[in-house]
Symmetry: D2
Subunit: 473 residues, 4 copies
């Protein structure tokens, strides 16, 4: 259930849904060589097979049930059509959840053209349903690198249509327009970028003075961060370990490297399951938090001989190096929940004296000459993307954030945003959260006029200053 590498390596850090269930079709013809039309005669798309549209529609309908925030947004904002006139070009994973987003944007008034940000992650049947619904989609599962850029180009390079908004995930689309059609930026009101890598590219552009439109970094919105990291990882660490190894957590000794949000989620979950958890940290403030949360703060070498599981959550490189792996005990499980595939020095295990044995999908035994084996998960890539699934609820938060960022940038009065990278305004961030409260039958308290005045707040928020990062207990 792994997400495959994208061409540019850049979008691996955003989630796609749990991967497509579409079988490898036996039809070997490239979509680029096919002529397909939807039932209304429209042919402005390129997908695997328009006949899968019905199946894809059902997938979208199921996703709609779990994305109440977007559905509410459709209803609340529909009267005013806040995206009327918007021409959005998008490049994201193409899944049922994305489809719910696209149809929401459309309901709010936007025109959309879409490509995939990853050559493997497209759900063909969903693409078919979108094409049938009139969207110009250019994507299929198993694109070649050439296909990948061809699809992106077909989105932007159109007679008589020019985008005025960009929704990107990984920065490939933005990069393509910069390279091929820089003049387009004259009409573009802004870029909404989802991934760590894409955001990093935008900040570099901005630093270099080359960013020519405002960009919204939705990756770092508070709500999204909490869900992507703390809440999602708290569950996916258990899920990922169980699905791959069936390990029993009770009584196991575990070391968690890094005590940021991800490390906090992993540590709390394993402690709750009866594991004994050690933590390593470089930042004394996070380290002190680990202490107060009841974890022994150690250096990795102090516990490496005794632990049953090693989990990296640092965002750093070479946290678990060969020297440590040499000293692990037989059967030790090693996995990565951090931000990249650099945390575990997997390359150092590709040496002649060690034997690799693939025991299951995503599970390798690496065997030392003396027979000791360590259990390496997902070859050191992200466990939560490779061996677990991302709940639709988390994807719903991301998609809602993207939609609101598009609305904000598109409607912002002249001058509010300059040629810089912005975080989603606090109020919008709060709005994303509020749209998800009904899922939990949660009832928000409203400030009285007197209370709002006392606190110096607007009754409708924002309730915290922009710098507030919503620390949680």
């Amino acid at each position: 259930m792994s997400l495959s590498r994208s061409i540019s390596q850049s979008s691996t850090d955003s989630y796609s849904s749990a991967a497509s269930y579409t079988d490898s079709s036996d039809d070997e013809t490239s979509p680029r060589d096919k002529q397909q039309k939807n039932s209304k005669g429209n042919a402005d798309f390129c997908i695997k097979n328009i006949k899968q549209a019905d199946f894809g529609r059902r997938e979208i309908e199921i996703a709609e049930q779990e994305m109440p925030a977007l559905m509410a947004l459709r209803k609340r904002a529909q009267g005013e059509k806040p995206l009327a006139g918007a021409k959005i070009v998008g490049c994201t994973h193409i899944t049922a959840q994305t489809a719910v987003l696209m149809e929401t944007l459309s309901a709010l008034g936007a025109q959309c053209r879409w490509a995939a940000c990853n050559i493997y992650s497209t759900q063909n049947e969903v693409a078919a349903a979108l094409a049938e619904g009139g969207f110009s989609v250019f994507a299929w599962k198993g694109e070649s690198e050439d296909d990948f850029w061809w699809c992106i180009d077909r989105c932007v390079n159109v007679e008589g249509w020019q985008p005025n908004m960009i929704l990107d995930d990984g920065g490939d689309l933005t990069h393509w327009i910069y390279k091929k059609y820089p003049n387009m930026f004259k009409k573009i009101k802004g870029i909404v970028e989802e991934s760590v890598t894409g955001v990093h590219r935008l900040y570099q552009l901005s630093k270099a003075g080359k960013l020519c439109v405002p960009a919204m970094n939705v990756n770092d919105s508070v709500t999204k961060q909490k869900f992507d990291n703390l809440y999602c990882c708290r569950e996916s660490i258990l899920d990922g370990l169980k699905r791959t190894t069936d390990v029993m957590f009770g009584g196991k000794q575990v070391v968690v490297c890094g005590y940021g949000e991800v490390g906090k989620g992993c540590s709390a979950a394993l402690k709750a399951m009866g594991s004994i958890v050690y933590v390593t940290e470089i930042d004394p403030i996070c380290a002190l938090q680990a202490c107060m949360d009841g974890f022994r703060l150690v250096k990795l070498n102090e516990v490496i001989r005794q632990v049953d599981i090693v989990i990296t959550c640092t965002g750093n490189k070479n946290v678990v190096v060969r020297e440590y792996m040499d000293r692990m005990k037989n059967g030790c499980i090693v996995c990565n929940m951090g931000h990249s595939n650099t945390e575990i020095d997997v390359a150092s295990l590709r040496t002649p004296e060690l034997t690799w044995e693939r025991v299951r999908s995503q599970v390798d035994h690496v065997i030392w000459p003396d027979g000791k084996r360590i259990v390496l998960l997902a070859e050191g890539r992200l466990l939560n993307l490779s061996c677990s699934t991302v709940p639709t609820f988390v994807l719903s938060i991301t998609a809602t954030t993207q939609a609101l960022a598009l609305i904000e940038l598109y409607n912002a009065p002249e001058g509010r945003y300059k040629q810089d990278v912005y975080l989603l305004p606090k109020k919008m961030d709060e709005y994303v959260a509020s749209l998800h409260l009904p899922t939990f039958d949660a009832h928000l308290t409203e400030l009285s006029d007197e209370q709002a005045k006392y606190l110096g707040l607007n009754k409708n928020g924002p309730f915290k200053p922009n710098y507030y990062r919503s620390a949680s207990a």
Copy 2:
């Protein structure tokens, strides 16, 4: 064990230690009317009774054992005397912990003159030990309002000595200098302010363009915030409730109003003890966190009839009003863990039809005509200050933060700080944390050169950007 009201109402929001154990001395003479000298003949102080110095010294020595960070700071920074030449005037609670701070400042090269920020909180024997040690202290337990300002004035209005640094807790000292000796600010390099109220006053001065020196807001340093709020309240809610009511937590239904750091700490602690906890919130982001942490998010009126305990942690006013209290069940406990005494509308209970019965110190039964009684703690004032104690470890973090802020402001190169209010630099904040890690035998990991480069960080920190608020799990 309550802390009494200070004259200015302003310093009630900072902690003093658990209050003095000194008995009301039978000596009724005002310290202002006494002539006292220490064993070296020095008479530049005004305290209750210099003979208590030995007893006070023992208290200080015990406190030293629990404040390893300041002791380490003495050692580490002593060679260089970073406060050589500093003339610090201070106005804080005068307790054993403060004494450890003052003697640390002195060891680092500073001269100090000190008054109390609260008319009741001075530990007389500690003041005696300080005077005996050569400090010019002007404070005793049970000052009159006139005494209070007289003491402050004695600190600043001295022949041949002029302060160049201010350490304040509540803003009264700063206010006095502004009012009486504005010219002093010419030589003053900065103000370090500890309390919410004092910080608020400084921001108002700054807004009004009247702040004439840099000020450091140490109240909002990340480390201090975490300990004052989350970690301290997690324990003091249990302690405060037990000491006052002996209530059994298991199975009790509790509503916690507000899910900021304090609410998070209270909710987590009570849940862990087997209580069923409901949460109210106004901010959708905090509300969503409450949901994900496993608490039902409700409006107060939905649960008010069924809960056994009501706890306010909002910083807001009139959160628990008479209407709610009318509907509480018999025996319901009501208390305030928030930022002021406004959260519970206690005034509304002072009506003829209700009977108040003081059943213990800090515990009142308020009795309705039908016999129903609610149990009001600390008359709606802060439970954690009134009915619990603040661990020395928390005071150690505050004191260390103050010391580092003084060092930073005093040594900052020209131009680093302007006439504005600043947060403690991230690196200093991290340093406070790191000085407290040895208490837990906690071992920090150091970045390798390669890793530091990869992350774009200095190996010695800061490890997070200044805006990072160190969210915790």
Copy 3:
């Protein structure tokens, strides 16, 4: 707030309530030398001061509010008067909670005469209220040893009245009758014994073939055990430590010796507060449970140098010996939550080279020649009895169990109970639990006829076999 030693040492293992708040009266006359009558002219009692009756009555009324089970029992069983004809002689702590029990027994038809099982634990004002209410009570706070036995004798040695039921706590009353009035057992239907020590004595009598009436061991009823041990200790360990030392739990290293119910409660509570907890055990089954619950299972000597707190919960002797205390670190807190005062070898600390310093009530610093001090709580006696309070809810469960045991033994058909020691029948145990559910607004599900048949159970219970010990998660 400590409970003082009883004469016989035997009843220290049952709870009295938090101790009397009555001041040492200035009246120095012994109650035995006073002539007192209640308002109805009755003089068959001996207490401190009948004038305190009103005050005591209010205390009883407050206790009634927190003992709903006994109040419900009064109502439910009142019609039939199941104790009609019962003549109960009792020897227990005399507190407001006991008064609620006695008045319940009376309401159910019994006559009662009562003495105290502890020379210090009598609440004089409650005894006064009972005497005023017509009960023959012989007890006051501060009895001499001679008084103690005199009071017991006055209870049993009466003209024209002979007990037919015994309610004992510690076995002193039973012992006295065995010794002085063995013939009384001819009319006695049974003994209900509350304490560990008293139960132990009964089993010895039984083994020796000398037990001449049935006895009910209420100490080991499931419901009572869970509350006395697991649920009560989970809270009182935190309370006892805080009240005595103000220690902050977060990040502290703690070793809990013994992982029975008490050890489980202590470990869980401290873990929840952020402590790092180690466990020692002798029983491999309990040891394995500790592992699965996430605690490192160690021998004491492995961690004794590093821990901040040592807690004994073993029921064993010399668990913490001098050798270990020699190796503890400075400031280490040592306390006992187990069953006796033998767990910590306090005697070994009474040597010339060590200095004892009493720093607070119940807190001693024991100081080594090199200045190291350990903090010994309650001189090694039970922390939860000495430094914490027992919630009325727990006392309510005990009292309800006692009442039901008396009803059961008194009404049991000939032959159901022989001259042996019995546990409370499962069904009665369940009944005690069910009477306490309304406190939590808890709603029990009833079996349908079909389900009861399927499970082979009576719809009204018992729901578990007698041997079932109600393991909890």
Copy 4:
């Protein structure tokens, strides 16, 4: 990954390991029609394919690494060969873990003949390895009912060999000998039975006076119970729900029916993951425990409209009936963690107006006419057996218990066991636990002579009376 139904329905209540990985072989010949010999020429077995022996051997070797207790038993008891002369006939799931057990029994001196207790659960390659190793195994995956009994018969009906011990799982083997070869019991020293159903049958035989040899009920040993129920279910409820539905636990409302060990495990796990958990109970003692553990105790109808997940853990029938399912909200997940497939009235959902949609293996959507769908897992069968895996560690405890029970019964002196059903002696139960402690690097404390005497215990145990059920916190 479901375990298939056995012929007799009776062994579904014991665990087999996670199912065989052997592919459906293309060889369609029945093993009964094949002639196979192992490499030593032995042909006294009947399995799928002897050529798979090498593959099976590797599986066994991996299992050995995770079953240290059996390996230790081999070493500790090997010198004395405590099973020398034992002729054991066994009928269990045939998996790698069973193979480790069989080879341990053999190493201890026993001769073994073995059949499968379930027609689908045999791992063919493991059976091959056993046959190659000289064991007389009669079992393959996908037996017919006739094959099933034929295999059992081949185990017992042998020229010149007669069993003197029985190891059974489900009671089919015992039943067969009773029916066909009752005379064999003359030489049989005892039966060890593993499953709930088999134990039930034995108790019925015993009641009817027809049990003619001692039998050991290993199902109810304390250690095994804790692991099968509390510790295993605490993890498998999360695993089972995630693998089937990918549901996010945070903020979800869940009702757990039944608060025995399984219910306690499920409730604790979900609470730890941020779910809001309600509990239903019929037994007031368990109900009170739920309250004290922080769960609202409700009747199912009070919460059925609002919950997201319903979990049954009662052992009862018709706990979730159609009436409740009619009122569940859209998307509600329903599953069974109890003892049988009767808890959810699945039959009531097989009506024309409801549509069933199989969305994944083990996951059905049942759709109401108005479009509401509930998500039924494993068709109401046991979730933890159908949709999760049983950790080898849990199987290790079971297998070790079986081995020790065989040793005990085989070596017991005449008269220790009569023709009755026995629990494993406490000391053996403790021994099972102690053999598993090294897995956790756990160090047991030993009693000193003085302590053992004080407690009245043997230094080597048993440490608790036989009736003690090892309640856990």
